[in-house]
Symmetry: C2
Subunit: 239 residues, 2 copies
């Protein structure tokens, strides 16, 4: 594992490793990552295998190992390739507007590539673009009296929320999808056990869709952050 971490870091961050002798490589990390993304977009992350990715490029499975140490690193490259560039800082914009745009863009990324949710669980090394998303939150919160730890924690808070919403959106899925059936099963279960889950049954029985889940949580979080910032920037003397 210790070596694997270094391998991943070198692949995502390192110098492109310029060799001179031998035949020119026909493939490239970019093409391989793109092929992996194509498979994952079409059939999900579970369908991504060395064989399938190689076949899509008209190559043998083993040739991929000339470029990528293993599947873990391939997926890391796929993530880095699929994730968008974070939205531009928007000079002069208020922190709240910046973070709102940030969250919406991130949510759109997850919608475009639902498998990102599967690929970004567990400890791993982030790529440059992924880290840039974190940077944007911390930068947007600079200068309001928050400590470094608090700014980082805010980023985790926001990212966790967007992630949760994306997961929920995936569970609902488009109408007629296999995911929609799971949701229907859940509704049936709750309704049948309404005595054990009275609050849940009541909440689900109310009309009105919850398509606003992203903005709802976002507004709560930002309200909470605003309250903290107010306290920090207008330090009333402790009574």
């Amino acid at each position: 594992m210790g070596e694997a971490a270094n391998d991943t870091v070198r692949l995502l961050w390192g110098p492109p490793a310029k060799p001179t002798r031998g035949p020119k490589p026909t493939l490239s990390l970019e093409r391989i990552a793109a092929a992996g993304v194509e498979v994952a977009d079409a059939e999900g992350l579970g369908a991504v295998s060395m064989q399938k990715v190689a076949a899509l490029l008209d190559f043998t499975k083993m040739s991929l190992y000339r470029y990528v140490p293993g599947k873990t690193e391939l997926i890391a490259l796929m993530v880095e390739s699929a994730v968008d560039e974070p939205p531009a800082p928007a000079e002069g914009a208020h922190w709240r507007g910046q973070l709102t745009a940030w969250a919406h863009h991130l949510a759109a990324s997850f919608t475009r590539h639902p498998w990102l949710l599967d690929a970004t669980v567990g400890p791993r090394v982030p790529g440059p673009k992924e880290l840039a998303w974190l940077e944007r939150v911390v930068a947007a919160l600079d200068g309001y009296g928050l400590t470094g730890a608090e700014r980082m924690d805010s980023a985790v808070l926001l990212a966790g929320h967007v992630r949760g919403i994306a997961e929920q959106a995936r569970a609902v899925g488009p109408n007629g999808s296999p995911e929609a059936e799971l949701l229907a099963a859940l509704g049936t279960v709750v309704h049948r056990h309404a005595d054990r889950y009275p609050a849940l049954a009541a909440a689900m029985a109310e009309p009105g869709g919850h398509d606003q889940a992203l903005d709802f949580g976002l507004d709560r979080i930002l309200d909470g952050l605003a309250a903290l910032i107010d306290r920090r920037t207008e330090p009333r003397p402790p009574r």
Copy 2:
């Protein structure tokens, strides 16, 4: 998949399916799930295979299929077995205190069984205990003027936050663990590219540990919810 959903629902919720003829089953869903949890606790979710679980019970792999339709269902049972009962409603306690306790208990669950993070990604059918966690949040927020959708969204918000923190905690890991090495690699990377991630580098350079990440985010969320509840329970006439 449509049938698979029904299978899972029957296993998690359904009647225990009482047959009468034939030999008594030696195993039980509970024992199988417990064995799976044991493997996952020790070696992670990736190490859970039919073979390993069966071997731990001194049985053949195929005998498990007499009890469980497939690995998906096994993992669903493991989740339901590993997750704690949500904390008791605490009669008369304020919603804020209830939700705080809720979040802390949930975080403790993730700490005890880190593989729960891996097992609870993607669309799936929740078990009774898992659903009870959701019920507690919605119930705690009953009667403050929030709509059903808002109460549900609040639950997703809270769960997402706890999840994010648990994931972060796992990425840090205990000292000397393989995960800690990943974190060290991240620190090195940020420091080396401080020009591209100035805010991040500055935030990480500040002293003070961020062990308070769970409570920090929790306080922000609850502050935000409190503000909304205030607005709803003291409805100032619209100007």
